[in-house]
């Protein structure tokens, strides 16, 4: 393309983007543009950009609100006229639904985890309550036992029988406080080893070489003194002895195991 042709293209191009040439010149330019070189294409785009940038110098003025209102009214009417099911309509609903679903999911998850925490806390608190209740029950039982033992000790007429450890348990020590009037007795043992599995200690009242079972008991904590209440010890004898043997669990009709303690009245 000659320099002259290029100058013509530039002149028409500038006039075209500024809308300042005649109808005939516009047609001529469009014809040239159809066969334009890459540089001329670029020139055309540059000139269009410059022309559009010049619009930025126009005064910043605000049209009346009715322009936008009428425009959007036209746009929505157009959408509805196309069947009232514009993509955007569904898209908006979809987005709202999606947002609501996400919100619901997040809330649900939050509530779920919050609930899980609450349940865990509740379980912990329940376990604690059960532990405390057990402790209270044990303490109540102990208090009850102590009260019963105290009642025996408070009796006006009691016999005190001391028992000593024998060969199998020489450090053992025992004491029987016997309330004959009410047929009850208090047994205190110390330094007695814990009972082996399936075994229990059995207290015997021996009179005239004849043993009478006074009950069975187990020692689970050998470090402390253990107290037991003997419910029915209805004997009127004023002489005799108390002995403790190790017997099978539940006790025996006659002593069969090692004797751990013995004490005479």
């Amino acid at each position: 393309m000659s320099t002259q042709d290029n100058a013509l293209f530039e002149e028409l191009c500038v006039g075209f983007v500024l809308n300042s040439i005649s109808q005939e010149e516009e047609e001529e330019f469009k014809s040239l543009l159809n066969n334009a070189t890459q540089e001329q294409e670029q020139l055309y785009q540059d000139m269009q950009s410059i022309a559009s940038e010049m619009a930025l110098l126009a005064y910043d003025q605000k049209p009346s609100e009715s322009v936008k209102e009428q425009l959007l009214e036209m746009a929505w009417a157009s959408v509805h006229a196309r069947g009232g099911s514009a993509n955007v309509h569904y898209l908006s609903r979809y987005r709202i639904s999606a947002a609501a679903a996400v919100l619901f999911l997040v809330s649900s998850l939050g509530l779920f985890f919050f609930n899980q925490n609450l349940e865990t806390d509740l379980e912990t608190q329940k376990e604690l309550v059960v532990q405390k209740e057990n402790t209270i029950r044990i303490l109540e039982t102990e208090v009850e036992q102590k009260s019963e033992l105290l009642a025996i000790l408070e009796a006006r007429d009691v016999d005190l029988i001391l028992m000593d450890g024998l060969e199998v348990n020489p450090n053992g020590f025992g004491k029987v406080v016997w309330d004959k009037e009410n047929g009850q007795a208090l047994l205190q043992v110390a330094n007695m080893p814990a009972v082996p599995t399936a075994k229990e200690y059995q207290l015997w009242f021996v009179i005239n070489n004849q043993p009478f079972s006074a009950g069975v008991f187990a020692v689970n904590d050998p470090e402390r003194d253990n107290f037991f209440k003997i419910q029915e010890l209805n004997q009127s004898a004023s002489q005799g002895a108390f002995a403790i043997t190790l017997e099978p669990e539940g006790g025996s009709p006659q002593p069969t195991g090692d004797m751990y303690m013995l004490g005479a009245m």
């Binding site: 100058a7 950009s49 940038e53 010049m54 619009a55 049209p63």
Partner: protein
């Protein structure tokens, strides 16, 4: 500092272009929300341009509505490979404004109402001082164009400004300002070519 400003403007130009393209794509799919967003972005600028061409606000509002109606109808004709969305919109607006300006009906109305129309106040061609555009980036771009115009000759600037903001054709400028048509064409071409060099950075 200058490099920072230019690169920042460049980034925003790209962002604007990307956003405009996206809005035009959505408008082509008949999304009124996108049309509303595009209107919010450019209505003041385009209205100001139309007022400078038509000199009457009521006419400018009519054409502004026509412009956006056309965008609504023909957004699918926008070709991103042939320029930015902004260029397409401004070009469309100027074409519409000038078509109205040159229409016989409008010329008749203008003749009859020039002395009676209270809205028909005098407007300078364009804002020669810093324009309080709400958008800072647009304001920076306006400064660049304003500075570039100051670097070309007054004669070249005058024909470009009259043509652009008054919508006069080269023939009309020639007649009204008593300048040979060939001279008008030459000044216009030389001025615009020089603006191109200045704005592309070739003369900075």
């Amino acid at each position: 500092m200058l490099f920072f400003i230019i690169s920042a403007i460049g980034r925003f130009l790209n962002q604007d272009n990307s956003r405009d393209k996206d809005l035009l794509r959505r408008i082509a799919q008949k999304d009124p929300v996108a049309l509303s967003l595009l209107y919010d972005q450019y209505n003041r600028l385009l209205f100001g341009l139309l007022v400078s061409i038509l000199k009457k606000k009521t006419e400018a509002e009519d054409i502004l509505q026509e412009v956006f109606s056309t965008i609504w109808e023909k957004a699918d004709q926008f070709d991103p490979d042939r320029g930015t969305g902004y260029t397409w919109i401004v070009s469309l607006t100027r074409n519409k404004g000038i078509d109205r300006l040159r229409s016989k009906v409008y010329k008749e109305q203008k003749k009859q109402s020039t002395s009676l129309d209270n809205d028909d106040v005098y407007y300078p061609l364009y804002s020669s001082e810093n324009n309080p555009l709400e958008d800072t980036i647009l304001s920076d771009r306006a400064d660049m164009v304003r500075n570039a115009l100051q670097q070309i000759s007054e004669k070249q600037r005058k024909v470009i400004e009259i043509s652009y903001f008054s919508g006069l054709s080269q023939s009309e400028i020639s007649e009204e300002y008593d300048i040979p048509l060939g001279t008008v064409k030459t000044r216009m071409r030389d001025g615009m070519m020089k603006l191109r060099d200045i704005l592309s950075g070739a003369e900075q």
